[in-house]
């Protein structure tokens, strides 16, 4: 690994951390698409800022472009408030318009602007180490590193200082307001951080990757935990992991680093989406299948309890009467047998003592909907758990 490679990985990691922190809150506040809107609509801000400063890394440009991001949020909220269109439509109307203005501005000044739309969308992480920051003639590292470092430092400081306020306002906006935290200040504070991060990061990784780095790690972490601190930590972890693995993947493929980091984020998300212990798709499907079987079992047991006549409890009759397919009936029968709920004697099914008490308790629970009766049943059955 040479120096430039290490620097690229450090920049990518810092960007991913700086994005994961506001991203976590955006995902929790159901405002993920706002980050997409901001990332697009900062474009005119960047272009105008570039006309004024002639330097893509100038702090003035960053503030100017971040301000465009805030304007987007305000504009979206204004349109929402008029009630003319639904909330998501407002987002979808504002950012394409602003982005179009940006693209046209670039196109009309293509000759005197060294800025192209591809770079804005995708960034040029590979070139980041070549743009050095010189202080009094000494080389102190790549500019991008310093920019994102400063942004990250501010973000972390704000996070630690206002963690409690952020947490309360995210999960209970009403409580936060009644405790005296201004929802508006927290909301616009978060939006400002998101805007500044987006602008600071776009030069390195491009507008789309910023969105991916904000949403994907947070969403992945959200599938694994419901604890805010753990979620933040996991999101940062996933971000850094994909930043570094993405860099090497791009290196091997000789393709865009930003695209490759996004792909890594996608793969990590896909993996967690499928295999997360309790919220992954496989776990959910398994649980749903179990619950279906248990509902069937309960129906079956209830039927047995309600009928003392022998013919009603004959295996063949049950199949017709409850109208299950053969396979499912068999599965339910076996499940009941396994749990010692029933005995089968000459094709006549009857409840055991255990099955009888279980059924009574279950009915009691369904009727009263109280938890106390089923505490001891919870271990055996998914149905009654949460």
């Amino acid at each position: 690994m040479n120096n430039a490679q290490i620097e690229i990985q450090i920049i990518a990691s810092l960007v991913s951390i700086a994005c994961a922190i506001p991203g976590t809150f955006l995902v929790l506040r159901k405002m993920a698409m706002i980050s997409d809107a901001i990332s697009h609509s900062i474009l005119p801000g960047i272009v105008i800022g570039f006309f004024l400063t002639q330097d893509l890394n100038s702090p003035i440009l960053i503030l100017f472009a971040a301000f465009t991001g805030i304007i987007t949020v305000v504009l979206v909220e204004y349109i929402q408030k008029t009630g003319l269109v639904k909330e998501d439509t407002a987002i979808g109307l504002v950012f394409p318009a602003l982005f179009s203005i940006g693209v046209i501005l670039i196109a009309k000044n293509a000759n005197d602007v060294h800025l192209d739309v591809d770079a804005v969308l995708l960034g040029e992480l590979a070139f980041a180490p070549f743009d050095r920051l010189l202080i009094l003639g000494t080389d102190v590292g790549p500019k991008a590193l310093w920019i994102i470092g400063v942004i990250l430092f501010i973000t972390i400081t704000l996070l630690i200082a206002f963690f409690k306020e952020l947490k309360v306002s995210t999960f209970d906006a009403g409580l936060a307001a009644s405790l005296g935290f201004s929802p508006a200040i927290i909301h616009y504070g978060l939006m400002s951080v998101a805007s500044v991060t987006t602008v600071g990061a776009f030069d390195a990784v491009g507008a789309i990757l910023v969105v991916a780095l904000m949403i994907a790690p947070a969403a992945t972490a959200y599938l694994l935990t419901t604890d805010l601190k753990k979620m933040l930590a996991l999101a940062i972890g996933f971000g850094v992991l994909s930043a570094i693995s993405g860099y090497w993947f791009a290196h091997w493929l000789d393709a865009s680093i930003a695209g490759s980091i996004t792909t890594m984020l996608g793969l990590i998300f896909l993996f967690v989406y499928l295999f997360a212990p309790s919220k992954g798709v496989i776990a959910v499907l398994y649980r749903e299948k179990q619950q279906r079987a248990e509902v069937s079992l309960l129906t079956f047991l209830l039927h047995l309890k309600n009928h003392t006549e022998l013919e009603e409890r004959h295996v063949n009759h049950l199949r017709e009467h409850i109208n299950w397919q053969r396979v499912r009936a068999k599965a339910v029968l076996e499940l009941a047998l396994k749990n010692n709920m029933i005995v089968v004697d000459k094709n006549i099914v009857s409840l055991t003592k255990k099955g009888d008490t279980f059924t009574s308790k279950a009915i009691d629970y369904i009727i009263t909907n109280r938890d106390a009766q089923i505490e001891d049943m919870k271990d055996d059955f998914f149905l009654f758990r949460g």
Binding site: T89, I101, G259, T262
Partner: protein
Amino acid sequence: MTKMDITEYFQLVFTDYTLRTITLGTAILGAVTGMLGSFAVLRKQSLLGDAISHAALPGIAIAFLITGAKDTNTLLLGALVSGLIGTFWIRGIVKKTHLKSDTALGLILSLFFGFGMLLLTFIQKQPNANQAGLDKYLFGQAATLVESDVWMMAIVTGLCLFVLLLFWKEFKLLLFDADYTTTLGFNTKFIDILITSFIVLAIVLGLQTVGVVLMSAMLLAPAAAARQWTNSLATMVFLAAIFGAFSGVFGTAISASQTNLSTGPVIVLVASVFVFFSFVFSPSRGLLFKQIRFIKNRRDLELHKTLAFMHHIAETHDDISHPHAIILLNNFQGYTRSTLQKLVEKNYVEIKGSMWSLTKIGFETAANLYTKKSTDNE
């Protein structure tokens, strides 16, 4: 494309083959996206279009990698497949996990797009001269439309119109009351998938002209503009198609008359102007008329307040038309010179010098003001 001005463009559009093709193409595109966009907007799926169009990018790249050819239809087929995968993955995420729809949309949008960009940069590094021009799908280049593309669009639009008319009742019902539709015995899942698939199809169709980044606006803007003028679904769909078609034509005209201008952003800006205009000037919902109505209502209210106060004073006298000093009204909020003047105009009040007196009509109206109110409240 050479430089010309707009009037020149409209003269040429009927004679020049290229211009005619492009204009027809963008007009048809605008119409079909406007039509289907109405459903997306009303179903609160506005941002789905954004996600789908971004999600289509890897499909284009993969289709190119497999076939190695730049045939538009093949690439768009790839886009269609990957757009559909994205759409159904979004539904899967929302249905099976506790992640919300905005997160799902943002995820699929950015992840698919990032993957697509990875593939595009990978393709660009390949020693294959054929690869140039794939990035036109980012922002669209209407100039690359040829007659067969326009035919393709026309066929899809025709198909779409046919299905729309065939299932009109079902679509409408599903739009406004999904539960009721289910209880009536319609297969809501089928209708839902049908309409979503057509939305995906329309988006994919527009990628060549408007590009993945801005395609969502083509879907939303005409529909959002049309929504402001009507409360009827049929009228809205029709208006959205008109707005979309005009955005396409004007956008193409402007972008053709300038050098260095991608069609996509210009069409989007034209559509945004339609939206802005509709937001402000629509008679029933528009901001302008809403504000005018607001001011008028406030004025009426002030008038009522003034009249009620006058009635209150006049009541204490035997002669209702007994004159009172205007100064009396000064410390009352609803009173202004203009409200008083209005009351005079309506013949409720007479003014003599610095004194006012209620007329008989004025007294009765003021008395009824209260009784009416009290009956309204019951």
